[in-house]
Symmetry: C2
Subunit: 247 residues, 2 copies
DNA sequence: AATCCTTTGATTGTTCAACAATTCTTCGAT
DNA sequence: ATCGAAGAATTGTTGAACAATCAAAGGATT
């Protein structure tokens, strides 16, 4: 009985909500109007999404082993489909795949904390130093307010979410699809690694003022100051996480 | 007859070269010595590697459609295995997967050039501004010399490769596993998108002196100067690629 | 009691065949 | 030329089977 066997919701057989995406034949008839279509997520995508939820909520713990046949039975899907979902999650570094030995929920290894924060420093600080459109800056402000509302409601999970939205919004200043994807993955990893610290309300509450200061500097166009404040925050946050996780 | 059907080498049935990797049971017996083991690449990995080669060499052109059954027959593997290889390549953005409609070699879309260069600016410039160990700096210098040798030998492909090694080595200054992976993917995308320009010797030869100057500043510890030179290079390179590809 | 070797069981990776679903192409009618 | 229907092609999924690999268990040896 592994933790992979606890608390699974089956994959809904009903029609799931679709997502709009522009589609067209790559390399052909680019001049023709692209037709919008509703893409129904595949079963494998839905399995992956379900597992992502479980990971983000701490129901699947770092290091836990996920077995294809067990999940196949529990979710009522084919083993092959589970494999496809695993591949998705492995590409996002949420699970680690060891050939012939199995799939394990990703866990913090030596240097991982520093690595994640190095990526964040490169990306977030560069993004905020480049500034962004008024719309993008407004989104950063919205995330700060979201954090304040969560703190006022004593909702710790929402506080952690708002903090992630804040940092995602900073990267989004750059309006780069690739950077947004990279940052989303880094944030997903952090949710997985640092879940325990996430529910410590004090952890994020202490950063609300920091986030506000960073945002104010951004709004005022003081981009170097914003970058310095953000860098200081990231360094401090790394120290704290290292202290909590003994890296 | 699509370009996917041209020039495939079968997947070798003989024992392939393995790669060393440390393995252990995640989350368990972390105190025990990790045993080194030779991991035999799976067939899916080998299919993916083969396709990567074809992509990098321009044998599979942007926009070309890759069909599971065709590749399955040509490579002598199961269709399911081809699907697994496709998933790997899609995660690396080398192919684009449209649900129910097929897999296509990735191609340049609107804004892709700017996007790729934005990522590079964030990562490469941050990395060089952080400097690195003597060993890492030596690797940057080695890539510059590699470029000089390629130019002297009038080997255009090698010249392009050396330039990519140069930029990979810059990011490697940060000694971050995640950033190295991200950069490797960006470089793979660039090889795919810009292959035509790659074989234009003049394209990279004009950058040899730039690379040398950047490296000299790095070696002298003038990190801000190195960053400014690199930034100027990236901006100029983006302009040139945009001019060639009409983005 | 500790260590080593062999056997067994569990799991992964792959193949194959089949089917359902979706999309694209072709053909015929207007 | 356009539209609609039919057919073809392809993708996504399933389930069964088998080979290969690894981990666990059990027995033998020191």
């Amino acid at each position: 009985m592994t933790s992979a066997e606890s608390g699974f919701r089956g994959i809904p057989g009903s029609a799931p909500t679709g997502t709009k995406q522009a589609a067209g034949r790559a390399g052909a008839t680019l001049g023709s109007a692209a037709r919008l279509r509703m893409a129904v997520p595949s079963v494998a995508d839905r399995v992956a999404a379900e597992l992502r939820l479980q990971l983000a909520e701490g129901l699947l713990l770092p290091g836990a082993r996920l077995t294809e046949s067990t999940l196949s039975e529990e979710l009522g899907v084919s083993r092959n489909t589970v494999r496809e979902a695993f591949a998705e999650l492995a590409a996002e570094r949420l699970v680690v795949r060891h050939p012939n030995r199995g799939v394990f929920v990703a866990s913090l290894g030596p240097g991982d904390i520093h690595d994640v924060y190095t990526v964040r420093r490169f990306i977030e600080v560069s993004a905020i130093r480049g500034g962004g459109s008024p719309e993008r800056v407004t989104a950063v402000r919205a995330a700060v307010e979201e954090g304040r509302a969560a703190a006022a409601a004593a909702d710790d999970e929402a506080l952690g979410s708002a903090n992630q939205h804040f940092h995602g919004a900073i990267v989004a200043l750059a309006e780069s699809r690739r950077l947004n994807t990279i940052m989303a993955q880094v944030l997903a990893e952090m949710r997985l690694f640092f879940h325990k610290a996430t529910v410590d309300a004090h952890f994020y509450r202490s950063y609300l003022d920091d986030n506000d200061k960073i945002c104010k500097a951004l709004e005022a166009g003081q981009l170097d100051r914003a970058g310095d404040l953000l860098l200081a925050y990231l360094d401090r946050s790394e120290e704290k996480q290292s202290a909590v996780h003994g890296d």
